[in-house]
C-alpha cells in the first residue's frame, strides 16, 4: 500500500456491457487518473459508405449498436430525407416516435439492471431485465425483431400497427408501469443502494457543461438539454417536460433515467391516441446531393448524424457522433479521486455504449 499501481480496467470486465479499456493509476484504492483506450469494437462502419448505396446504409447504421439501434436508423433516414427534401407522412412520424420511445424504455431498463449488478444487487438486476422482456415482447410483436428491427427506410417506415397490436401495447404498458413502481421503491428507498450511490461521482453543472456532457448524464447535473424539445418527428405534438435533477451524483442519474421510463410510457400512450391515418412512406427519387446535420435524442443523449452526398448513389460521408463519445471526458474527470470500489458504478453511470462510440 502507498505506491502507485496501474490497474487495467477492461476490456473484459463483468460490469461493462461492451469492451473499453481504462488504465487506472491507483494509489491506496484511490484512483488518481484514468486514461481511456478504445478500439476493441471498431468496425469502420463509416467507411462502408463507399460500398453500400444510400438506401442500404440504413441497415449499416442500425447495426452500429444493438441497444440504440432504432435511433441510429431513424437519425440517418432523417438526415437523408432532409437532403432530398422528402416529406415523411404523419403516420410514419408517429410510428417512428412510438418505436423510439419503446427503444428508450428498453435501453433504460437494461441500464438499470447493469447498475444494480454493479453494486452487487443481483436480484434487482434480474427483476429489471425481466420487466425489459415485456418491452422486447412488444417490439417483437409489432416489428418482428427484438433489438435490431429494421422498420426505417428513407421516406418513412415499412411496417404498420393495426388495432390488435395497439391494444397489446397498451395492456403491456400498464403491466410495465405497475412492475416499475415496485422496482422504483427499491432503487430509491433501499439503504444499501443509497449508501453506494449517494454522493458518488458528483459532477457540478458547470463542470458538466465545460466537459460537453450530454443526455440523462447532463440532465442529472442540472443542465436542461433534451433534443426532443426541438420537435423532430412527432415530438412537436407531444406534451412533455425534460426531467432534471440538480445533485449530479449517481443517485441523481438513476432518478433521471427511472423517471424517464415513466415519461416514455406516457409519451407512447399519447402518441397512440393521436395516431393519424395515412401512408407509411413516400417513394424517393433521385440521388442525395448536399449535406445535412440532424440531432436526435437517443436514450444515452444527443446523437448527431451528418450526411454528405454528391449526387451519386454512394454517399461521400456519413458520420455519427454518439453521446457516449461526448461523455467520455466527463467520465475521466469523475474517475479522478474516486474510490476503486466505485469505478464500476461510475463507468456504468454514464451509460456507456462503446460500440456506438467506436462504430
Amino acid at each position: 500500500m502507498g505506491k502507485k499501481s496501474v490497474i487495467p480496467f477492461g476490456p473484459q470486465h463483468p460490469v461493462l456491457p461492451e469492451p473499453i479499456h481504462l488504465d487506472l493509476v491507483v494509489e491506496d484504492e484511490v484512483v488518481e487518473e484514468a486514461i481511456p483506450n478504445i478500439g476493441f469494437i471498431h468496425r469502420g462502419l463509416e467507411g462502408l459508405v463507399e460500398k453500400r448505396d444510400f438506401n442500404e446504409m440504413v441497415y449499416v447504421a442500425e447495426r452500429t449498436c444493438g441497444i440504440c439501434s432504432f435511433g441510429h436508423g431513424m437519425g440517418y433516414c432523417e438526415a437523408v430525407e432532409q437532403i432530398m427534401n422528402v416529406e415523411v407522412p404523419e403516420r410514419a412520424r408517429f410510428l417512428r416516435t412510438i418505436w423510439m420511445e419503446l427503444a428508450r424504455m428498453h435501453s433504460h431498463l437494461l441500464w438499470m439492471g447493469l447498475t444494480a449488478d454493479a453494486f452487487g444487487f443481483e436480484s434487482l438486476f434480474y427483476e429489471c431485465w425481466r420487466i425489459r422482456e415485456h418491452v422486447l415482447d412488444m417490439l417483437e410483436h409489432t416489428t418482428g425483431g427484438r433489438l435490431i428491427f429494421s422498420v426505417n427506410q428513407v421516406g418513412g417506415v415499412h411496417r404498420d400497427l393495426n388495432e390488435d397490436q395497439i391494444r397489446y401495447i397498451k395492456d403491456n404498458l400498464d403491466k410495465i408501469e405497475e412492475d416499475m413502481k415496485n422496482v422504483e421503491k427499491t432503487f430509491f428507498g433501499d439503504a444499501s443502494v443509497q449508501k453506494r450511490t449517494r454522493g458518488i461521482g458528483v459532477l457540478t453543472k458547470q463542470e458538466a457543461h465545460d466537459l460537453g456532457a450530454a443526455g440523462p448524464f447532463a440532465r442529472a447535473s442540472g443542465l436542461k438539454y433534451d433534443m426532443r424539445l426541438t420537435g423532430y418527428e412527432a415530438y412537436g405534438k407531444l406534451d412533455f417536460e425534460p426531467i432534471i435533477s440538480t445533485e449530479g451524483d449517481c443517485y441523481a442519474r438513476i432518478l433521471v433515467r427511472t423517471k424517464e421510463i415513466f415519461q416514455s410510457i406516457q409519451l407512447v400512450r399519447q402518441a397512440l391516441d393521436m395516431l393519424p391515418a395515412g401512408d407509411l412512406n413516400v417513394p424517393v427519387k433521385g440521388m442525395p446531393n448536399g449535406e445535412a446535420m440532424v440531432r436526435i435524442e437517443q436514450p444515452r443523449g444527443e446523437a448527431i448524424y451528418y450526411v454528405h452526398g454528391e449526387n451519386t448513389r454512394f454517399l461521400n460521408r456519413f458520420r455519427i457522433r454518439t453521446p457516449t463519445f461526448a461523455n467520455l471526458p466527463a467520465l475521466c474527470k469523475m474517475l479522478q479521486g474516486a474510490n476503486y470500489a466505485d469505478v464500476g458504478i461510475l463507468v456504468v453511470s454514464i451509460d456507456p455504449c462503446i460500440s456506438c462510440t467506436e462504430r
Partner: protein, 288 residues
C-alpha cells in the same frame, strides 16, 4: 480422546465436504428461486469441483499450490480439533492462521485484482475476529470452560446466557460466508469490481481446494452456531439442526436483498454490532 470424538472427527473429515457442497447447492437454488430463475441443480458444486480437479494446472507461481494446500490442511485440522471437543479458543486462533495462508496464496501471484482482493480479505478477517474471540470468551464465562465437549454437555443451552454473543456471531457469519452486503473480497456471484477477488489467479486444482475448504469452513461455522444450542439433552440436537438451517436461510435472504457495502462500512458495522451486542452481554455476564 474418547471414541465418540474420534468418530466425530472421522465423520467431519469425510462427510463435511459433501454436506457443505449440498448447503452451497441449496443456497444457489434458493437464491435463484428468489430471483424467479430456475437455478442450477443442487449437486452443482460437486460437479464444479470435480471438473476443476480434472483441469490442467496453469499455475502463475508454484508457491501458490503449497500455500493453498496449507490453507486447506489447516482448516481441516481446525475442524477436527473442534469436533474432537478441545479448546475453542485455540480453534479460533488456528483458523486465523489458516486465513493468513489464503492471503499469501492470493498475493504471491502479483496480479492487481488478486492483491486488492487479498487486502480486502485481511480487512474482512479484522472485522470478524472480535466477534469470534468474544464468542469464545462468552462461552467461558457462561460455562466455565473453553472445552467444546464440556460446553455442549451443560444442562442448559449456552444461548440462554449468551443471546448477545449469538446475535454478533450470526452477524459476522455473513462476512465469513462471503455474502452481500459483505462480499467485498470475493463472492459466489460477483465479480463486479475485482473480477474474482482473491481467487482471480487460482485455477484448476487450487480453486478446487479453495472451494472444498470453503465447505469445511462453512460446516465449522455452523457447528459453532450449534454449540450455542446444544446441551446435555438429545432434543437439543434437533433444535440445533433447525436453528442452523434457519440461520443459513437468513443468510441467503440477506444476500438477495442487499447491495454490496464497501469495506469501511463493513468494518464499522461489524465492530459496532459486536461491541453493542456482545459487549453488553459480556458486561451483564461479568456483573451478574
Amino acid at each position: 480422546m474418547t471414541t465418540k470424538s474420534v468418530i466425530l472427527v472421522i465423520l467431519y473429515v469425510i462427510a463435511a465436504p459433501f454436506l457443505g457442497a449440498l448447503l452451497v447447492g441449496f443456497d444457489r437454488k434458493i437464491s435463484a428461486r428468489m430471483q424467479r430463475r430456475v437455478g442450477p441443480p443442487v449437486l452443482q458444486p460437486l460437479y464444479d469441483v470435480a471438473k476443476l480437479l480434472k483441469k490442467q494446472v496453469i499455475g502463475v507461481d508454484r508457491a501458490q499450490g503449497f500455500l493453498i494446500t496449507s490453507y486447506m490442511v489447516l482448516t481441516v485440522i481446525t475442524g477436527c480439533l473442534f469436533f474432537a471437543g478441545v479448546d475453542m479458543l485455540m480453534v479460533f486462533f488456528i483458523l486465523t492462521t489458516s486465513s493468513v495462508f489464503l492471503y499469501l496464496a492470493a498475493v504471491v501471484t502479483g496480479s492487481p485484482m488478486s492483491s486488492m482482493g487479498a487486502q480486502r480479505e485481511l480487512v474482512q478477517d479484522m472485522a470478524v475476529e472480535p466477534a469470534m474471540l468474544l464468542a469464545a470468551v462468552g462461552f467461558y464465562l457462561a460455562t466455565g470452560t473453553f472445552n467444546v465437549e464440556t460446553i455442549i454437555s451443560q444442562p442448559i443451552s449456552a444461548i440462554v446466557k449468551l443471546p448477545g454473543f449469538f446475535v454478533a456471531f450470526v452477524f459476522i457469519l455473513t462476512v465469513k460466508m462471503r455474502k452481500s452486503p459483505f462480499d467485498t473480497a470475493q463472492s459466489t456471484h460477483a465479480h463486479q469490481e475485482l473480477v474474482k477477488g482473491i481467487t482471480t489467479e487460482m485455477g484448476a486444482k487450487n480453486l478446487a481446494y479453495f472451494e472444498i475448504t470453503e465447505w469445511y469452513e462453512n460446516i465449522l461455522m455452523l457447528a459453532v452456531v450449534a454449540t450455542f444450542i446444544l446441551n446435555s439433552s438429545p432434543i437439543s440436537i434437533l433444535a440445533a439442526v433447525i436453528v442452523i438451517l434457519l440461520v443459513y436461510f437468513l443468510e441467503i435472504l440477506i444476500d438477495n436483498t442487499c447491495a454490496r457495502l464497501k469495506w469501511k462500512d463493513m468494518l464499522i458495522l461489524s465492530w459496532a454490532v459486536t461491541l453493542i451486542c456482545a459487549g453488553v452481554n459480556l458486561i451483564i455476564l461479568m456483573v451478574v
